[in-house]
């Protein structure tokens, strides 16, 4: 595997139009720079409206930065071919309700340019993995939120991605399904795959992630290993992640 960063953000800023006729601007990100290396499980942390999802969307070319540069696998984000190596689980997914679970995976697999025989091989396995094998022909309209989240996880894995982006993957999941997500992250970590995790489940983040970037108010407040985040810089004492983050969120911007 190449040593090029899987994702690299350089001076990313993003403002949204706001106000009457969109004449005002609402800054969402300000000068964010960091990179995600191959094989690491990287956490993107921060309070609500910190800009985490916006940054993820910029990485996936869903959103264009106002300024700055993004690369995926060493290529500029305008090169959509690199998205063939990325899987994305959206925080609040709404799939076409008329498709069945297997129909949806076949559809997204085709859009990821996976050969059809390979899609047919992967779909039953993925549905088995997320526990939807017995409901594979049912329309998604009949699925609960948890089932849709499970399906979202399966679609993110359809192309067996080198970079898996999980935006709040445990939202709406029961305990069994949460375990499934964390087992998956652990398994892919063992395989040397890269994962970008946006989550408020701090215990699991602490257990699974190698490094984290903490965004507060659209700015990068901390970048480093999880241990560097939990260690109190003043006393050297190790705190839980929640305590460390609360202190970081409360600290005024430098």
């Amino acid at each position: 595997m190449s040593n090029l960063p899987v994702a690299r953000f350089e001076g990313i800023a993003k403002s949204f139009h706001a106000g009457w006729l969109g004449r005002g601007t609402l800054p969402a990100l300000t000068d964010v720079s960091f990179q995600i290396d191959p094989g690491e499980v990287f956490a993107l942390l921060g309070p609500n409206r910190a800009g985490k999802t916006t940054l993820v969307k910029i990485l996936l070319s869903l959103c264009r930065p106002t300024s700055g540069r993004v690369t995926r696998f060493g290529q500029p984000s305008t090169n959509l071919r690199t998205l063939e190596r990325v899987g994305y689980m959206h925080e609040s997914q709404a799939f076409p309700r008329y498709l069945s679970a297997s129909g949806l995976l076949e559809f997204y697999g085709a859009l990821a340019f996976i050969p059809e025989p390979e899609i047919r091989r992967r779909v039953p396995k993925l549905l088995e993995f997320v526990g939807l094998a017995d409901r594979c022909q049912e329309p998604i309209a009949r699925f609960s939120k948890g089932m849709i989240q499970r399906l979202g996880l399966a679609q993110a894995l359809i192309n067996d991605p080198d970079l898996l982006v999980l935006d709040e993957p445990t939202e709406g999941l029961d305990l069994v399904a949460r375990r499934l997500v964390f087992d998956l992250v652990a398994e892919r970590r063992r395989q040397g795959r890269t994962i970008l995790l946006v989550s408020h489940m701090l215990t699991e983040v602490e257990q699974l992630c190698d490094r984290a970037a903490v965004l507060v108010g659209g700015s990068l407040r901390h970048l480093g290993s999880i241990s560097s985040l939990t260690r109190n810089p003043a006393t050297g004492e190790v705190r839980c992640l929640e305590e460390a983050l609360q202190e970081l969120f409360a600290r005024p911007a430098a």
Partner: protein, 338 residues
């Protein structure tokens, strides 16, 4: 992005659109409407002297417009063999005296089906019924995952557009092909020109649907798409008809026309820029040779006699409008944050 990838994307988007149409019930709704019309055609028949015209006799043997001469009694007294037949509908429950001969009556039914049921009501209903397809597809939570795949947004939008056009094309084929076959079976008159309605209807829909595509990318709102599409269709029809009326007035009496100078230029400019649904009606009537059997709308008739109706240019300029609007829609979609 290479051609096979574009073709693959379009194929999957077309397939997805058919699934959407099936699941939403619109497929069955349109098919049901077509089947009703097919049943109506199967119920039609011709009784009596349907073979009024003798072999080799020109079709104009009975005057069609002169009120006095079209009266059958004096015509019969003058030695003309006058028809004594009926057009039956609803399996004989309704009987209508044949206007001229059986072919005319069948052509009248075809003109009614193509011009009123399919070209006006059908296209408008198809625009309304399919207007929600694109906003659903562009819903942010649904589109975010799709747009994170390695396919350009323009290819996805093109695939969806072609999917809707293909769906309406299938329905138009069922409607036109079915009613043609049903009328042929029930009356014995197989008039092949009627089948030209399939491409004509599809062209009409494809051009008008491009406006719905732009509205969907701008608003992502099904309501805006439905209302906007209907309003736009009426606007275009009004401009188109207005232009022809203006030309007709000018042709008949240049001095009495209220459209002079800048007003005339503006109407002409609007006519050439916008799609031309009324021209599609004229085209459809020409394809059905309706003018040989029935009186046309006077403004349309005059504009054709005046040489101010150019079907090729009308089609090309309407397609150009659809192309430009589609390019604007893809640019808009490409610049939208999800």
């Amino acid at each position: 992005m290479n051609l096979p990838v574009v073709i693959l994307t379009i194929r999957w988007m077309v397939r997805d659109t058919f699934r959407q149409a099936l699941a939403s019930g619109i497929f069955w709704l349109m098919l049901g409407a077509s089947l009703l019309c097919i049943l109506f055609c199967l119920s039609a028949g011709v009784d009596g002297g349907s073979q009024l015209r003798h072999s080799g006799e020109p079709p104009e043997f009975l005057p069609k417009k002169h009120a006095d001469l079209s009266k059958t009694t004096p015509a019969a007294q003058a030695g003309v063999e006058v028809i004594r037949g009926d057009l039956t509908l609803a399996f004989g429950a309704l009987r209508l005296p044949l206007g001229r001969d059986a072919e005319d009556s069948v052509r009248f039914l075809q003109l009614l089906l193509a011009g009123v049921v399919a070209d006006a009501a059908g296209v408008l209903l198809a625009l309304i019924w399919t207007a929600s397809f694109l906003p659903t597809f562009l819903d942010p939570n649904a589109a975010a995952v799709m747009f994170s795949k390695p396919v350009p947004r323009w290819a996805l939008l093109l695939g969806k557009y072609l999917g809707v056009v293909a769906f309406v094309g299938l329905q138009a084929t069922v409607f036109v092909g079915g009613t043609w076959a049903a009328l042929g079976l029930s009356t014995g008159w197989w008039i092949p020109e009627y089948l030209w309605c399939i491409p004509a209807l599809l062209l009409h829909f494809a051009v008008m649907y491009s406006a719905s595509v732009l509205l969907a990318t701008l608003t992502r709102s099904p309501v805006a798409c439905v209302l906007g599409s209907v309003f736009f269709w009426f606007l275009c029809w009004g401009v188109d008809y207005g232009r022809h009326a203006m030309v007709a007035m000018q042709y008949l009496d240049a001095n009495s026309s209220p459209f002079q100078g800048a007003a005339r230029t503006m109407v002409e400019a609007a006519y050439w820029i916008l799609p031309k649904p009324a021209d599609f009606s004229i085209l459809l009537q020409s394809l059905l040779h309706a003018g040989d059997h029935f009186a046309a709308i006077p403004a349309f008739d005059t504009v054709q006699h005046a040489g101010a109706f150019h079907p090729e240019m009308s089609i090309l300029s309407s397609l150009a409008f659809a192309g430009v609007v589609f390019v604007v829609a893809t640019r808009q979609l490409g610049h939208t944050d999800y």
